[in-house]
Structures are given as structure tokens and as C-alpha cells.
Point group: C2
Chain length 231, copies 2
């Protein structure tokens, strides 16, 4: 598939790369279109490729031995994902599922060493990316350790609004289909509790719900709740 070079260049990861370098990288790549519900890769599968999301939205999930699922993270356009090889793994630790129609660039994992070797700037950026990922994980651990469910959900929703928000009237719309179950799996609770919390928020005028839809109508109010400033 033909890849739009300017689209790739618009992402921070590549913006300082020469046209030549970029061409070389894209020569070895293929693009892949994924429909909602389809998986880019699956937990336990051999890590044959690593990816960059150009367009759309993915959720990365893990399933525990006893069948419970959690959402590890949401992949947004411009994010690298599935670079298992860099983490000394031969298989993918999770499943990447499209929640909206998506397009991803794929490179064979064998190219990862060259990928980071050729361009030192890229190596540093890649490491920073993983570092950010680690910090996000620690933030989540901190929240799960110290905060009650309602605040965790508030933080999760605000993060989504920041990463995937589209202004809509006075509020911010989460710009991809998301269910209560999804939010539950991101915050370590059940869809029942999330449903109750969102209903309560809707009554307070903080958000507007809907099937697989979520609009944050009062960002300030929700932020106050997340920061535990009780009224």
C-alpha cells in the first residue's frame, strides 16, 4: 500500500528525519488497514512486526489465566506499538484490537536494531517513549493504590479526553466508541460501578453518556472531582 509521506512526517517521532532516511524506512514497511473488532496482533503470538498507528484507534488488552481482561493502554495516531523485540520478548504480551477503522505501518521486527541504530535521535526518542509508557503505568498503579473508584474513573476519562478529545459545543467528545466495560477494564472495576458513576455524573451535568459514546460537558467540574476537591 502507498503511504503518504507527509502524514508520517507530521508525527514527532519522524519530524527531524531526512527525506532519504524516511524513504529507506518506508521502503521496508507495509501498511495495513484494520476494521473495528479486528486484531493487529494477538497475545502470545510470535512478534513478527512492530507498528506505527497512522489513523484510527486501538486498545491493547491482556487476558489473565482465569479469563479476566484488562485494557493495558489505548493506542492513538502517531504511537509506536507492538515493539516486543525491544523488550527482549519473542511474543506479544497483549492483543491489539481496533475500536475504529485504523491504518498502521508495519515493519519486520528484524529491522528494529537498524531502526534505532541508523538514527541516534530515533533511538533516544524510542527510549523516551518507553519511559513515558513506564511513567503512565506508575501513575496508574499509584491511582489504583490510593484512590477510590470514582476518582480513578474521573482521571481515566479526563486522560481520554486529553488524548482523544474533540471539542463539541461546550464540552469534549471522546472521539472513538468506548463502552462502560472498556472504562471498567482501564480502571480495575466492573461495568456496573462505572455505569452507576456515569449516571450520577450525568445527573450532576458533568458528562453526557450514550451507547459507546461519552461527552465530557464540564471538564473543570470533573477535574475538581478527580483532584478530590469536594464541593
Amino acid at each position: 500500500m502507498k503511504i503518504d509521506k507527509s502524514l508520517v512526517r507530521s508525527f514527532a517521532l519522524f519530524d527531524r528525519m531526512s527525506d532519504d532516511e524516511l524513504d529507506k524506512l518506508l521502503n521496508h514497511s507495509t501498511a495495513r488497514r484494520v476494521l473495528p473488532g479486528d486484531a493487529v496482533f494477538e497475545q502470545g503470538g510470535a512478534a513478527t512486526h512492530f507498528f506505527l498507528l497512522l489513523h484510527g484507534r486501538l486498545k491493547v488488552t491482556q487476558v489473565t489465566q482465569d479469563g479476566q481482561q484488562i485494557i493495558v493502554r489505548v493506542v492513538h495516531p502517531g504511537d509506536l506499538f507492538g515493539f516486543a523485540k525491544a523488550l527482549q520478548r519473542t511474543d506479544y504480551p497483549g492483543t491489539a484490537l481496533a475500536v475504529a477503522e485504523s491504518i498502521a505501518i508495519c515493519w519486520p521486527t528484524e529491522l528494529w536494531p537498524q531502526f534505532v541504530d541508523k538514527n541516534p535521535h530515533l533511538a533516544v526518542t524510542a527510549m523516551q517513549t518507553i519511559g513515558q509508557r513506564l511513567e503512565e503505568a506508575h501513575t496508574r498503579i499509584r491511582e489504583m493504590s490510593t484512590q477510590e473508584v470514582e476518582r480513578r474513573v474521573a482521571h481515566a476519562v479526563l486522560r481520554l479526553a486529553g488524548q482523544a478529545g474533540k471539542k463539541e459545543g461546550a464540552g469534549v467528545r471522546i472521539d472513538f466508541p468506548i463502552s462502560r466495560q472498556d472504562i471498567a477494564e482501564m480502571t480495575g472495576t466492573t461495568l456496573h460501578t462505572v455505569s452507576r458513576i456515569l449516571s450520577a455524573w450525568e445527573a450532576k451535568g458533568l458528562v453526557e453518556g450514550g451507547r459507546q459514546k461519552l461527552l465530557v460537558s464540564d471538564v473543570e467540574g470533573l477535574t475538581a472531582l478527580a483532584d478530590h476537591i469536594k464541593d
Copy 2:
């Protein structure tokens, strides 16, 4: 301070490095002795150095705005820690506190780019280290999301036994002073609950407690409990 080269070489991170390279690295380093209760660096402080723990044991903690503390991880001999610069930070995200008398090698953060640049092998290893750290964090998130407190504590204790265990008679002794509060902060619960759980385990003959002490007397039994194989 003089640093024992053979001691450094015994760690996986440096085992493939030439004598020359190692000398160069150590020339730019200083060693530091830390007493129990002392901090190597503190949360929010400027990230002036990164470190390798030669001997002893540290715990890395974070304090939330409202004063609650969590233990991010335990640092064991051979571990790199405090490499905030690699994560695109100028300050330390946590506090590193000695829980036993410890010795750490310190490098100025400015040297990090050289550190990874000079030896490509080292760059890869460093990235793998962070990758492992990320996986550990995800494991913890998964456990906190899906498992009840008792199993989380079981997993945490078994991990400690694996990383810092010393055979003692039939069981494994956790080889550094650890309080119930510490275990609580590692598993996202309270010292009260931990105390109750350990008391129950002691009654079952799984562990032997004590002030800042912990001996796992029945590793198999505890593993069964952690894996939810109920008897």
C-alpha cells in the same frame, strides 16, 4: 572511592565489556555509601546523577499530593536506578531510600548519552531493562485489577523471595528488613490487612513473621495460594 572492578563485572550489564571501556566508565564515576534510612535521591530533586547498586537494598517510593505513599519498586544489587534523563525528565520521579547499608556507583546524567552511545550492546541492554520494568508494572496493574488482596500479597512476597531470598533451613528468608507497612505499600492495601493475612498464613505454617522480618517456610503452599489453587 575505589571501586572493585571484578564486582562490577559480575553484573550482567557489564559482563561483555572490555577492560578498557570499563575503566573509562569507572573513571567518571564516584561510589557512595548510604546508611539505612538515608536517601540516594529525593522525589522532585534535580536529576544530576544515575546509579548502579553494588551492594545493599533500596526502596523507591512516591508520595501522592495528599501524603499517601507507595513503593514503586525495590532495587537489588546489579540494578540500574535513577536514570531519569533517559525518560526525558530533569527531576527524579521518586525517592530512593536505603533499607540496608548500601553502596552505589554514581555517574553524572550528562554522561548517559555517551554511556549508551559508546557501547551499542549497553544501549540495547538498558532498553531491555526499562522494558522489563514496564512489564513488571503491567503485571502489577493486572494483579491489582483482577486479584483480591491476599493473592496480591502472596505474589509480592514470592517475588521478594525470588529476588532477595536466602535459603534458611527448609524455607527462604527475605534478606532485608521489611515491614508490614512496606508490603502494604507494594500491594495497594493497608498494614492492618497485611498483618491479618500474615497472621493467618503463620497459623497455616506458610510463613514465619517477626519485626521487620519474614521467612517463607512453605514456598509451594504459598505459590498454590498465589495461583488460586484453593485446598
